[in-house]
Symmetry: C2
Subunit: 711 residues, 2 copies
């Protein structure tokens, strides 16, 4: 689009030069004009004739008000007249306002009388932009009045938005039906609204010094949309953009960090109970086959490996230095690493920013920057990368290889990841602690995992993002290929920020994270347990090829709960066509229910489960299968599990791989049966109808956003 | 209140006599007048002078429209004029409407011209009543326009409502702030609105033949509320109320059913695999010490017990007959039970209404009624009552005694209850299958459990309620004493009902169940797994004495997630007073965080956990404690569990019993530690921060509704 950037630059420079935080209304209008944002016509009149002239050009009813720095409460001073129509009325309003202004304050400086188009018909919406501390420029859209102010029915997107994103925002609010013409009202011109959103997003992107921008209200009729008022706040200080590394730069080091050929342990120790001892033990017992160099000036060897007094003395190249020394010893040792040209340092020790010692952390970061060392941590448990049998951590080794990489900002959550993984035998490629994130963050890890063939799913616990915009960019790229699950902690914490604009105030909650993470294709886990379940389940399930989900159940009661769960997880219960219905009916008792759920009834033998499952797998119109098993003497749990695995494997051999999830209701034997199913690619849980369906729902959410399902 | 019931009776009788389903607008208005519901003034004019007279009495602008059975689309026919002010205008509108009516349809019967007060200022709300198939008369309240129609922001209550309930409805909608005067608008006269709700609820209660009643819109200003329009639908057929047993009547039989001294098994068998064999085995192996009478005409004894050819031949009294014969044999055997005066029959067999055989089920119900036998089932797994070691089921015995009674409508869910109970060693008083609920339902069971000293919590899975009103009554009484958890399946199923009124249409979803269950003090579980977790957790926790919740955590990351969970579960994180803050600080490292969560930091020894937990238990200002444990070498899981149990037991010995829940993050040893904690009255889970807090939240929800916490 052709924008008049020069005018905008002039206005902003002038306001900033004058140290102003807010633009005047005419300045705001000029910004709108420069970017083609339709705004109510207006002009500044210094004579009654000028007022008549402006009103004539506007051509509709106008509002008139004084422009004077001294007269703040214009209405109280009798300096506002609305709904003025016709030459005579404009003239008389002009005189009235001027007289009232003079009698209100004879010394007031009067810049003139503003004549403004009155726009009041159509749907009232708010379109705005603000600068989020995490994500930078975001645009907001909501319905005006009660909906946005009382119910906070508003949606956010990272700026700039594409046309399709801008359209999607209009559908993304709870009251979207209103714009579509619910209750017999006129439908809004959504093209025009989306266009305003896009133009505003371009404006704030082109001019980062615009801090907040409200178009409130915007009136949208069936043909066009016009903003009635504009409010613009600018940054008074310097505007800087976070520095960013190139993808190549990130990968060069991340590959050496995650797949090192040699690891040095700074502070390696033979003494039981020391962190330097635990890390050494885990590296060795974990089976790491690269070189391990213990660094300890007081030892000749540690756990049978030759020890070195300092890193400089290590004979070969070192990819990673794992620090297990107290915080205060880190800076000098890190300098040595720098001189040895070690590209990555893993800082296990605590005692940095998390204990208030920001200075020490900054010192370490400065040294790392000087020597171009990437830092993981500090204040972490370390990290695992199973394809290299690497357990560089003070926890215990973990060796079940698999496709999911997990990261956590908090050590406690890291321990929960480890325990959950071990108890469920979850196949893992990596577990990484991020701690204080003094350098390496989720963004760097995603960039690595994206191209890591050993990883097909990533699950991340995070409390904040250092650079949300960069994370979204990486996540967007990554989630086209592999699912990313995010547990965002602190979701209910209201951002305690001072916002002067409406949009700024609305952005002060978790909704910004929610909308933007979704926009980046990330599946957001509602809690820790869900994050772990999704991490375990998502790589287990193949990607569905379409939206048709079928429930086959032995228990009618489970069928109802599974249907509830489908609705809750945004899954489409397939409408079964008559021929398929007939085919299912041939396998189930006459009093069973075909349709969907397909209720095969409780007393059925294994053959009924088997025939219906096979039918569902074979029919190409069905894309995913949910099983509700009911424990009976006729079909015991392991019999069910084995027949299901057999059916799935037969289908896979025939080139059919559909997601299958199962809910097992029964006595404790269903636990073993669930494990057996899970081990064979079927996501199964005992005593719950919700969990398997939630995991299927998460898989669908990812597949849809990755464009892998054509609706 | 003084209501004019006579007028209402006359109007309704007339309409019903005429076979009309809908009242006319003037009739509706008369109903409002009779019950003191303020409604816009109106009258029917047959001359222009009459119209002027009516308009004069109303005293504001009026709307005028034709009243003619033939002219349905009044506006199109030019037979509606609004905003009429003044004698002259009324006269001219009268003439215009009449002329247009005649030209539209010269043969139309004209009853006159309706002159109606125009009310359009103030908040627009909808107040209505409908007849719910489950709950009978319910009243609804919502904000008019977009909020109720697009966002379905509406709330329901069982009619009649008390004044406090009516007031609570106004606060119960999402947009409640609007009525309180959000956005600088005038606050609504909530007393007047609540009064309308209450009067309407009285009206529909007094006259059950009123099927649906819409006051839409009602305009509420700062002083009063006036309905602008009324729509009333009546039942054209006979109106019957469900018959109800007295509490004494219910208890007399339920006590014999649940605590029988003797049980007969109709169809008892020695043959492995038969249901009659499983039930016999479970009764014997379960340790039931009452008399067991196997009934089998072809055997002399079954499993060592003397068998009888028929129930008539049993020498002693029989409290319960458990049926294990095929469905078609039930009626004749049930008649024999009737003649033997057996008060309760447990019908395990399927093949009744659930397979479409409604007739057979009705036959059985008729026989039961004739002989005054209460029926459990048919189509159930049976039931357990552990205080009597009674396992009258074809499943397997269960013997962990405890305070929770569980019931399920579905057999599959029953099996999940059994499996979950066994694997978690949940202490249970009863597990009861309800199946087709041909007779005994949740209501009867609640009446029994209410007075059963062996039961202190009830968890129910249900798909429908036979008589919702009676359930609510019983639940209201019961939940004052003991928590009731309900898993309502089919919650997302839209009621497919034909509704002619606005309120009727709004009531066609799960919101009615949700509001009314909450109103009855029931804790609604969002899913099966939560129902089971609540059932296990609620009786474990003592009742909190106040709202002050404190989090003590070793992992900052868990602290954030636990705080999120508190907000999600409506728990108040206590604002810690300075002296208490200081007291906590004395135990934690300087870089730890006091406040709430209290972050003792990860590297701390057992003594830090112990000191802070003891402090939290001792301080009377703290009412509940959430623990976030982080697995470290310094404080291993079992050490944490044991010290916590010790602290809790010491406190209990000193007469302090506060709810404590714990989230354990760590390697697999945390599973054993969680079990140990649970066994000692502390609700603890590994790998989740959400579950323990959700259970505490459920306990609080119950305690608040039971009036046990003074806010």
């Amino acid at each position: 689009m052709a924008y008049d950037s020069t005018s905008v630059r002039e206005i902003l420079d002038k306001a900033r030069a004058e140290g102003r935080e807010a633009l005047t209304s005419p300045e705001g209008k000029l910004l709108c004009d420069a970017y083609g944002i339709p705004i109510a016509g207006e002009g500044l009149a210094n004579t009654a004739e000028e007022a008549v002239d402006i009103a004539g050009k506007i051509g509709t009813a106008v509002a008139m008000k004084i422009v004077s720095p001294q007269i703040l409460h214009k209405t109280d001073a009798g300096c506002v007249v609305v709904d003025v129509v016709g030459e005579q009325a404009v003239r008389s309003a002009y005189g009235e306002i001027l007289a009232n202004a003079r009698s209100h304050d004879p010394d007031a400086t009067i810049h003139g009388i503003q004549v403004q188009q009155m726009v009041t018909s159509g749907h009232e919406v708010i379109i705005g932009a603000t600068t989020d501390p995490t994500f930078g420029k975001v645009v907001a859209f909501g319905l005006g009045g009660v909906l946005v102010e009382v119910l906070q029915d508003v949606t956010f997107r990272l700026a700039p938005v594409q046309a399709t994103d801008a359209r999607a925002m209009l559908d993304d609010i709870a009251a979207a039906d209103v714009l579509r013409g619910a209750r017999g009202a006129e439908a809004a011109d959504t093209d025009a609204l989306a266009d305003v959103v896009r133009r505003l997003s371009d404006l704030v992107t082109d001019f980062p010094e615009i801090r907040e921008f409200d178009l409130n209200p915007v009136f949208a009729g069936s043909d066009g949309a016009t903003a009635a008022d504009v409010r613009v706040l600018v940054e008074t200080g310097e505007v800087t953009q976070p520095e960013q590394r190139s993808q190549e730069e990130i990968l060069r080091t991340m590959n050496r960090l995650m797949k090192p050929d040699s690891v040095a342990v700074i502070g390696a120790s033979s003494e039981e109970g020391k962190i330097g001892n635990s890390v050494m033990k885990n590296l060795i017992n974990g089976g790491y086959s690269g070189d391990i160099y213990p660094i300890n000036p007081k030892a000749d060897e540690v756990l049978g490996r030759t020890a070195y007094a300092g890193i400089a003395e290590v004979p070969g190249n070192v990819d990673v230095a794992v620090f297990t020394v107290p915080a205060k010893l880190v800076p000098s040792a890190l300098e040595e690493c720098g001189r040895k040209e070690i590209p990555a340092a893993v800082l296990i020790p605590s005692g940095f920013a998390e204990t208030g010692n920001d200075e020490l952390q900054q010192q370490v970061v400065d040294i790392a920057r000087q020597y171009d060392i990437r830092l993981l941590g500090p204040n972490i448990y370390g990290y695992y990368y199973t394809p290299k049998d690497l357990c560089a951590t003070f926890c215990t080794p973990y060796d079940v290889r698999g496709g999911v990489a997990l990261t956590s900002q908090s050590g406690g959550i890291g321990m929960a990841i480890l325990g959950y993984s071990r108890t469920t035998k979850m196949g893992v490629s990596a577990i990484v602690g991020l701690g204080n994130k003094s350098d390496v963050d989720e963004d760097d890890l995603l960039t690595f995992f994206e191209q890591d063939d050993n990883t097909n799913c990533v699950a991340m616990h995070l409390e904040d993002l250092k650079d949300g915009r960069s994370f979204v960019e990486t996540a967007r790229r990554m989630t086209r290929k592999k699912p990313v699950v995010v547990l965002k902690a602190g979701r209910t914490e209201m951002g305690a920020r001072a916002a002067s604009s409406h949009t700024g105030a609305l952005a002060g909650n978790d909704k910004v994270y929610d909308d933007i993470l979704r926009q980046s294709g990330v599946v957001r886990a509602p809690g820790l347990n869900e994050m772990l379940d999704y991490a375990r389940g998502l790589p287990t399930l193949p990607t569905p090829q379409g939206e048709n989900v079928v429930i086959i159940t032995g228990a009618g009661g489970s069928g109802v709960l599974l249907s509830d769960a489908c609705v809750a997880n945004d899954l489409d219960l397939m409408h079964i066509p008559p021929d398929l219905d007939q085919a299912f009916r041939e396998h189930i008792p006459p009093f069973g229910a075909a349709g969907n759920p397909i209720d095969i009834t409780g007393g059925e033998p294994p053959s009924t489960y088997e025939a219906t499952i096979k039918l569902a797998l074979r029919d190409p119109r069905i894309h995913a299968v949910i099983l509700g098993y009911w424990h009976t003497i006729v079909t015991p749990p392991m019999v069910f599990a084995e027949l299901t695995v057999r059916a799935a494997e037969e289908a896979r051999a025939a080139g059919i791989d559909k997601p299958i999830v199962a809910s097992l209701a029964g006595d404790t034997e269903v636990e073993k049966a669930s494990d057996h199913l899970f081990e064979h690619g079927i996501v199964a849980f005992p005593y719950t109808t919700e969990k398997p369906v939630a995991i299927l729902g998460a898989k669908y959410q990812w597949a849809r956003s990755a464009g892998l399902i054509i609706p």
